[in-house]
């Protein structure tokens, strides 16, 4: 009996039942068995209304969707091109940088591929890059930037880790700083690969043009303050995350609807509704997982798993290796939000027992998940790109392979060099 219910729930999840119902069912089953009133689920759901940092989630998501629907992506590509276009592999690096920045704001929900991909793939083709490379680059970049503030998964990791009440506190501000070097490493590695691609190619770069640069700056006049105010505000300790989100949403709304008028008043409700559907899906999973986490911790699940693992693995090195393999498979099957709320409550206490810093774990977890977005056969971005560019999924498998191995190397470096994650926050 004790194994039957979890097995049925697992099968239902694999059969495509909404994940929140599966997680809720497991918590309800736990309550039922321990004679806790099933109202406990409602109590946990209401806890969502008691976490100040969650205000950031709807506000940042809305701002990201609105930016995606406006002409901000075009302007972003123009300004990065004006400043980075002169380098070897310039346009490819432009694409990487633009995608990373955009993903940081939109949280890798596929928006980057849809909004920027359409611009970048033709531009890269015109500049002489091979189609295979272009598709691979854009599909990969769809999740690049997950490690940069104010990305939603970083915030969510902080929220979930805070639920665990560890001896080492996990602050979201620290996570934002911790992601800088590892995210930068991924960006650098892909940029070097892109530059290497241009060998023997006719120069697609153009010299730096001061007039174009000025014009591009002028074009972006309303967007330029955004990263400086928001990121500067958060990194500089002037704003709390939720305050930065409030400012961003308010500002982006005014600029796109009233000042630039790129989003009409009839489009606005549609953008709002679509963005809140994603927020609803995420918050629902978070709400029911608060309940299941509570139950799991109560039942001592992490301790038991740790006890089992410890019999076979004694050193952190092997543990990290197995964790990487596990996370790659997980990242392929689950979206990043579900993976976070389901697995972190189990993995985090175990990792801490192996002496891994919670912030380092968060960064390596997200880095693995970033890879999962385009790991064949089922990474989500492969399907989004296949749909968006009207190419068979097999083509995208082949296109992303070199990118996959480059980022896998980066993930291993991030995993085994904790200093990359912890150095800047003074814990390395």
């Amino acid at each position: 009996m004790s194994i039957l219910i979890p097995l049925i729930l697992l099968l239902l999840a694999l059969a495509g039942a909404p994940l929140f119902t599966v997680i809720a069912a497991s918590a309800l089953w736990g309550y039922y068995q321990t004679e806790v009133d099933l109202q406990a689920m409602a109590v946990s759901i209401y806890q969502v209304a008691e976490m100040p940092v969650l205000i950031a989630i709807p506000l940042f998501t809305f701002a990201g969707y609105l930016l995606g629907e406006s002409k901000a992506p075009q302007r972003l590509v123009r300004i990065t091109d004006a400043f980075l276009g002169w380098m070897p592999g310039g346009l490819a690096i432009v694409s990487l940088a633009a995608c990373a920045l955009f993903t940081a704001f939109t949280g890798a929900s596929g928006v980057t591929i849809v909004a920027l991909g359409a611009l970048l793939v033709p531009a890269l083709a015109k500049a002489g890059y091979k189609e295979q490379f272009n598709l691979g680059l854009v599909t990969t970049s769809g999740s690049l930037g997950l490690l940069f503030a104010p990305s939603l998964p970083l915030i969510l990791y902080g929220v979930v880790a805070q639920q665990m009440a560890l001896d080492t506190p996990v602050s979201i501000d620290d996570l934002f700083i911790a992601g800088l070097l590892p995210g930068g490493l991924m960006l650098l590695a892909l940029s070097l690969y892109s530059a290497w691609q241009t060998r023997g190619m006719e120069r697609e770069t153009h010299p730096f043009d001061q007039r174009e640069a000025l014009a591009a700056i002028k074009d972006c006049a309303w967007e330029i303050p955004l990263p400086f105010v928001i990121l500067g505000g958060i990194y500089g300790g002037f704003f709390a995350v939720s305050e930065a989100a409030a400012l961003t949403a308010f500002y982006v709304l005014i600029v796109s609807v009233i000042i630039r008028r790129e989003i009409s008043l009839t489009e606005l409700p549609v953008v709002m509704r679509d963005s809140m559907k994603l927020v609803g899906a995420i918050l629902l999973i978070l709400a029911v997982s608060i309940a299941s986490t509570n139950y799991m911790v109560d039942a001592g699940v992490p301790e038991r798993i740790f006890g089992y693992i410890q019999q076979h693995i004694s050193d952190p090195f092997t543990f990290l290796l197995l964790l990487t393999v596990f996370l790659l498979i997980l990242g392929m099957m689950l979206d990043i939000f579900s993976a976070l709320v389901i697995m972190i409550p189990i993995i985090l206490p175990i990792a801490v027992n192996y002496g891994i810093h919670p912030i380092h774990l968060g960064i390596l977890f997200l880095a693995n998940m970033q890879l999962g977005y385009f790991t064949p056969p089922v990474g989500m971005n492969l399907f989004i790109a296949s749909f968006r560019f009207n190419k068979p999924v097999m083509t995208l498998y082949r296109a992303t392979i070199p990118f996959f191995f480059i980022l896998l190397l980066c993930v291993l470096i991030i995993t085994y060099v904790p200093w990359l994650s912890l150095g800047l926050i003074g814990e390395g």
Partner: protein, 163 residues
């Protein structure tokens, strides 16, 4: 019946948009007031926190309408169409059952908050703010049942993608 559903959908969309607009305006106003005049408004922060719950549950309700909840698409992507249909009937019914159970017990939760005179913040009673939990889960349950029914009769269609 169809008219009723359309009216309900429109009402949900309108409420969600109004909620989000209020949230952005209040949150923006609050931070601007702090930056410019040095003092925010007392009730805004706790009110915003409750609005997160409302916006999230309304968003989830609307995501149910267009079948956009987070799922593991493993079997669905590979299975042939008839298998897909039957799996969908099964999983949607399961989802309806779970949402129904949550909605049912949330009613008790709200009743209890009412009886104990729980406060959400300041002197604001908690129960009117909590009522969204049984309401949204109840409506989600109904929606999952309707979808299971539609899949059963073969009329597989997903509304919402048109918009």
């Amino acid at each position: 019946m169809k008219k009723l559903l359309t009216a309900l959908h429109r009402a949900e969309d309108t409420v969600l948009v109004l909620l989000l607009l209020t949230m952005i305006t209040l949150a923006g106003f609050d931070i601007l007031a702090r930056l410019l005049f040095g003092g925010g408004v007392l009730w805004i922060s706790p009110f915003l926190r409750v609005m997160v719950l409302w916006v999230g549950l309304f968003g989830a309700l609307i995501a149910t309408r267009s079948r956009e909840h987070i799922t593991i698409d493993l079997i669905n992507r590979m299975a042939p169409v008839p298998v897909k249909r039957w799996l969908s009937v099964l999983t949607q019914s399961f989802a309806a059952f779970i949402c129904g159970v949550i909605a049912w017990h949330s009613v008790e939760f709200v009743q209890m908050a009412y009886e104990y005179g729980d406060k959400a913040y300041g002197q604001v009673p908690a129960w009117p703010l909590q009522i969204i939990i049984p309401l949204s889960f109840g409506l989600m349950a109904v929606r999952f049942i309707l979808q299971a029914g539609a899949d059963l009769t073969g009329a597989v269609k997903t509304e919402g993608q048109s918009a």
